[in-house]
């Protein structure tokens, strides 16, 4: 017998966790001598009050959609891919190589090739940890953490050395050619007669992010591979008994996960910066963890959670601009969301299950 209805598991628990995180964040704001209600107002106005704000919110959300999906896919196979950050960095390298060293007549072709390049590089960075987990039993969490640091050092070296253009001052690649610049939401919406801020970085990658959510849903719930991934995640012995190869599923799942994380680069590297800069990912790989937990590893949940975190990011930037609350408030909120939806899940779940059991007994 189910201990509580499905809607409570899917909707109520994340909402209560979010509420707890919000209340504690409010207390933190109070403790540093600011007004939480005023802060929330500023965030809503800054992130959702103008198309400029929306443009940033959706830009951040696109990053988090990709990294959130990456973590979510791995969660389905009960793998914790904490290496999204490194995989997204390598994805940036893939995009940069495609855009800089191949001639492109039109952005659409460049976008397709960059997406493939980003996914391939991201997946390649996830391959070693996956093989080590599958063949050697070394813990994927540890290896992906190590690979994050190796990726950071590697890109650091590339950007101060081989990839830096002659005479360049800061550690970054040359600017990508004009033909690879992606249309922003402003460009896309103008023909429809909708005025959207020209300065905001949201671009066509947002639509690709949504497409990725749909495709991941199809993969997980409508394909044989998705079934095998979920079966493996629920019980490895049962999956093995059903003829599913643990090695194969571990490696394939991690390749998909790494590829998704890498694809984030079409948004931040190709769509926004239009060159590869140092630390281009800005922690988005880690936010993917919070997004996947919040979204219950479901692509639609990931989509909503990514928008929520996009709002928090843009709102947090506005807060830092207008009040004395630093941007790091967002890291605290992110930590609290991970804590309550991930680690302290049972703290919310067990009392809630008791309530539902009691209600059911009274009803019977």
């Amino acid at each position: 017998m189910e201990r509580m209805p499905k809607w409570a598991d899917v909707v109520l628990i994340p909402l209560i966790s979010l509420l707890l995180a919000a209340v504690i964040s409010g207390l933190v704001i109070l403790a540093i001598g600011e007004d939480p209600i005023n802060a929330l107002n500023l965030m809503v106005k800054g992130a959702l009050g103008s198309t400029y704000g929306w443009g940033y919110t959706l830009y951040y959300a696109t990053n988090f959609m990709f990294t959130g999906l990456a973590v979510a896919v791995a969660f389905h196979a009960r793998l914790f891919n904490i290496g999204g950050e490194g995989q997204a960095m390598l994805g940036g390298l893939g995009v940069a190589l495609v855009c800089l060293y191949l001639p492109w007549p039109h952005w659409s072709l460049a976008l397709i090739a960059s997406t493939v390049g980003a996914a391939l590089f991201g997946a390649a960075w996830a391959l070693m940890p996956a093989v080590l987990q599958a063949k050697r039993g070394s813990h994927i969490v540890i290896t992906t953490i190590m690979f994050n640091f190796i990726a950071a050092a590697f890109l650091n070296w590339l950007l101060v050395g081989p990839l830096k253009p002659r005479g360049g001052m800061d550690p970054s690649t040359a600017r990508f050619p004009e033909a690879t610049n992606l249309p922003s939401l402003h460009d896309l919406l103008a023909p429809l007669g909708i005025a959207f801020s020209k300065a905001a970085p949201a671009n066509i990658s947002f639509l690709i992010g949504i497409l990725a959510c749909v495709l991941v849903w199809v993969l997980i719930w409508r394909t044989r591979l998705g079934y095998e991934i979920r079966a493996f995640g629920h019980s490895e012995p049962a999956a093995r008994y059903a003829g599913i190869s643990p090695t194969k599923i571990t490696v394939i799942t991690m390749l998909i996960s790494g590829g998704l994380a890498g694809m984030m680069a079409i948004n931040n590297v190709m769509g926004e910066a239009e060159r590869l800069v140092l630390n281009a990912t800005e922690g988005a790989g880690f936010i993917g963890i919070a997004v996947a937990l919040m979204g219950r590893s479901h692509p639609f949940g990931v989509f909503l959670a990514a928008i929520l975190f996009g709002f928090l990011y843009q709102g947090g930037a506005e807060l830092a601009l207008w009040t004395s609350i630093p941007r790091e408030l967002i890291i605290v909120i992110q930590a609290l969301v991970i804590l309550f939806t991930g680690a302290l899940d049972n703290m919310v779940r067990i009392p809630l299950e008791r309530i539902f059991m009691a209600l059911r007994r009274r009803g019977a």
């Binding site: 190590m146 991970i338 703290m347």
Partner: protein, 321 residues
């Protein structure tokens, strides 16, 4: 290379290895008891901030040390609550703790000191000073051994000696006391420990709290001995390097010392030489930065002996009813 250059590098190795060693032993206690802890970084960072902040306000480094340890213990308690009491995912809890520390330290630093997320620079008495061991100056003139004693062994802060003393102490606790035996048992087979009538929960909480204490020392060392004050994200991945060292050491105390000395040595080299000319190839500084992680991956791949973690690590214990 002259002796004095070698000694300077080794001296800096000892300084840089100390926080790694303390954090590594912290992780060792926790993981030997079956609680994975990737939150070493966060605990160190919180301790670094609170030790520097309290030392700056009160002017007493000892009060600072106390505050650092309390902060680290609080986060340990949170980890215990999530991992032991509510049987949550230990890895996710660790990630959350790292972010919590990274965000809160800057937030509070900004609110208290308004210096862009750092503490004021600590004056001499609010820091751990260097201790000159007896006879260091007198023996300095003795060839070879004199400089080694005066430069390398003498002249560190008290926390360095504490850290090194923790190695045999940890070994003794783990392998020569009843508590240590039970601690190791609870990381391998908690059912057996429970059957013997010993509380799994209490043992695991004590391990997690020892971990917090040691992380507190490591963080306080960073902010009040190695450097003079707290700056944003000053742990700079040391918690993860300590984790790497723990795997490298295969969860054993003496090997933890060797592993952290090796990683400290790599950091000392990277600090001194931007690019290391080895004759055949020139290693860029980034390669030195990445080396601890690459070595750990090689170890994990099992090419140099297999690293097997404690068997019950990461699994919450559910008491049979």
């Amino acid at each position: 290379m002259e002796l004095i250059t070698v000694l300077q590098i080794l001296d800096s190795t000892v300084r840089l290895a100390t926080p790694l060693l303390l954090a590594c032993l912290a992780g060792l206690f926790s993981e030997r008891a079956g609680i994975f802890d990737i939150g070493l970084e966060g605990k160190m960072l919180a301790a670094a901030f609170f030790s520097a902040a309290i030392a700056a306000v009160t002017g007493s480094v000892w009060l600072g040390l106390g505050a650092g340890i309390v902060a680290s213990l609080a986060l340990s308690g949170l980890h215990g609550l999530a991992a032991i009491t509510f049987r949550g995912n230990q890895l996710i809890s660790g990630v959350a703790i790292n972010f919590l520390a990274a965000g809160l330290t800057v937030l509070i630093a900004q609110s208290w000191f308004q210096q862009g997320g750092r503490t004021p620079s600590l004056p001499g008495e609010a820091r751990f000073g260097q201790i000159t061991l007896p006879g260091a100056e007198a023996l300095r003139e003795v060839p070879v051994l004199g400089p080694i004693y005066a430069e390398l062994i003498s002249g560190h802060s008290i926390l360095v000696y504490v850290a090194f003393a923790c190695v045999p102490l940890t070994w003794w606790i783990l392998y020569r006391t009843r508590f240590g035996l039970r601690l190791r048992a609870v990381g391998e087979n908690p059912e057996a420990v429970d059957t013997a009538g010993i509380s799994v929960v209490r043992l695991r909480y004590s391990a997690v709290l020892i971990c917090g204490l040691l992380c507190g020392l490591a963080g306080a060392y960073l902010a009040t001995a190695l450097q003079a004050g707290f700056v944003q994200d000053m742990t700079a991945g040391r918690g993860y390097i300590a984790l790497a060292a723990l795997i490298f050491a295969k969860w054993r105390p003496w090997h933890a010392l060797y592993a952290t000395l090796l990683f400290g040595f790599l950091q000392a080299i990277a600090l001194r030489y931007q690019n290391l000319d080895l004759g055949i190839v020139t290693l860029p500084v980034q390669a030195m930065d990445a080396l601890p992680y690459i070595l750990t991956v090689v170890i994990l791949a099992g090419f140099i002996g297999k690293a097997v973690p404690p068997r019950a690590g990461g699994e919450p214990y559910v008491k049979e009813r």
